[in-house]
């Protein structure tokens, strides 16, 4: 029997699961690891559901918990290494068909595997539409630092993608 609190939580998770999937895809490069991280984030969200204040947005609260969980997560050693060449035959690619628009996203996810966990957090929050100020608050850094780091991370990503012969 699902408790009312659980029901409410699951409803919210179902509604916002896209964000958890995105974090999982950014931090892990193969499907199995992504699913593990997805599970870890949902579990951590459930554990900390008590800290969610109803006056704030569920998604805002979710970002913080998801990023903090991802920053404390490590890849299983038996699986493939962290850094790898950008080839199209990795599992990330398997989930997308070969349409042009998804190709861009595929290149992006491959490139993201080559930046550090904090840079991944910055890019994730930026793509989720957060302002420099919101990014700074979530990560606990100054607004200027968030802006500088974000710009550098974007440049870095563009460079990585360009080295693969894709115009970005």
């Amino acid at each position: 029997m699902v408790k009312p609190d659980e029901q409410q939580f699951l409803k919210q998770i179902e509604k916002n699961k896209g964000a958890i999937i995105k974090v999982s895809r950014m931090y892990m490069d193969n499907l199995e690891d992504q699913q593990d991280l997805f599970q870890e984030i949902v579990m951590q969200l459930w554990r900390s559901y008590g800290s969610f204040r109803k006056e704030s947005l569920f998604s805002t609260w979710l970002y913080r918990v998801a990023i903090n969980t991802a920053l404390m997560y490590f890849k299983k050693e038996k699986r493939r290494p962290d850094q790898q060449e950008l080839t199209i035959d990795i599992d990330v690619v398997d989930e997308f068909d070969n349409e042009k628009k998804e190709e861009q996203l595929r290149y992006f996810y491959q490139a993201v595997q080559h930046i550090n966990p904090v840079e991944k957090a910055l890019i994730f929050l930026f793509l989720e539409g957060q302002s420099h100020r919101e990014i700074a608050v979530n990560l606990g850094i100054s607004e200027v630092n968030a802006r500088v780091k974000l710009n550098r991370t974007k440049e870095k990503l563009q460079q990585i993608i360009k080295t693969q012969g894709y115009e970005f």
Partner: protein, 216 residues
């Protein structure tokens, strides 16, 4: 393509292969540093308990012949080791509990808190272990002397005389102490790194990546 174009695709991603299990008790943690640390604390405590039980039983094994006042000294040292170990286990227990309590902190605050809590626990662990080294050496001395500890102590007490008559004993004794100290240091350093240090390094790397950067 640029980041603005990417944002559009970002918001329209597929959600295949990711299902939310409605039974929340089915969720298991597999790759969190905190879970790994908690597991290591638990495992190390169990190993410590096993070692203490083994050391408690040891004098009763006939082969070691730990009897009389040597037995009293042995158990006194063991008791002291147990009490001192409690000091760092208390710190680890606090850390263990704190990793289970969730606080909604910013990423930097969260990393800082964990880093300093863990660092303090590791330093206490190392400090206590180094302070326990003389007791460890004494226990090993009693253990390896196979019932000759009183005789060996007497030889050491009359160092000058023994050096003249039985210099090999002194050389072996010094070499034994030296080897014991080196193995204990290696043991303390490698255990603290393997169990806790490598995770501390991971947290530190993320903390460093959040440090202030100068504008160009």
């Amino acid at each position: 393509m640029n980041f603005d174009e990417l944002k559009e695709q970002w918001n329209n991603q597929t959600e295949n292969n990711f299902e939310v299990d409605p039974n929340l008790s089915h969720y298991k943690s597999v790759g969190s540093i905190l879970v790994k640390l908690r597991r290591n604390i638990k495992m190390e405590f169990i190993s410590w308990l096993c070692a203490i039980i083994f050391l408690l039983v040891l004098p009763n094994l006939e082969v070691y012949q730990i009897t009389g006042y040597v037995k009293v000294a042995y158990y006194s040292i063991l008791l002291q080791m147990c009490l001192s170990s409690m000091f760092y286990y208390k710190k680890f227990f606090y850390f263990y509990k704190s990793t289970k309590q969730f606080e909604l902190l910013s990423s930097r605050e969260n990393l800082l808190k964990l880093y300093y809590d863990l660092k303090f626990s590791i330093e206490t662990y190392k400090m206590s272990s180094y302070l326990l080294m003389p007791q460890g050496i004494l226990i090993c001395f009693i253990f390896f002397s196979l019932g000759h500890s009183a005789e060996w102590m007497d030889k050491i007490y009359h160092f000058g005389e023994t050096w003249k008559n039985d210099s090999t004993f002194i050389i072996y004794f010094i070499l034994g102490i030296f080897a014991g100290l080196i193995s204990l240091v290696i043991c303390i350093e490698s255990m603290s790194y393997y169990y806790y240090g490598k995770y501390l390094k991971m947290i530190k790397n993320n903390m460093d990546a959040l440090e202030e950067e100068a504008e160009l």
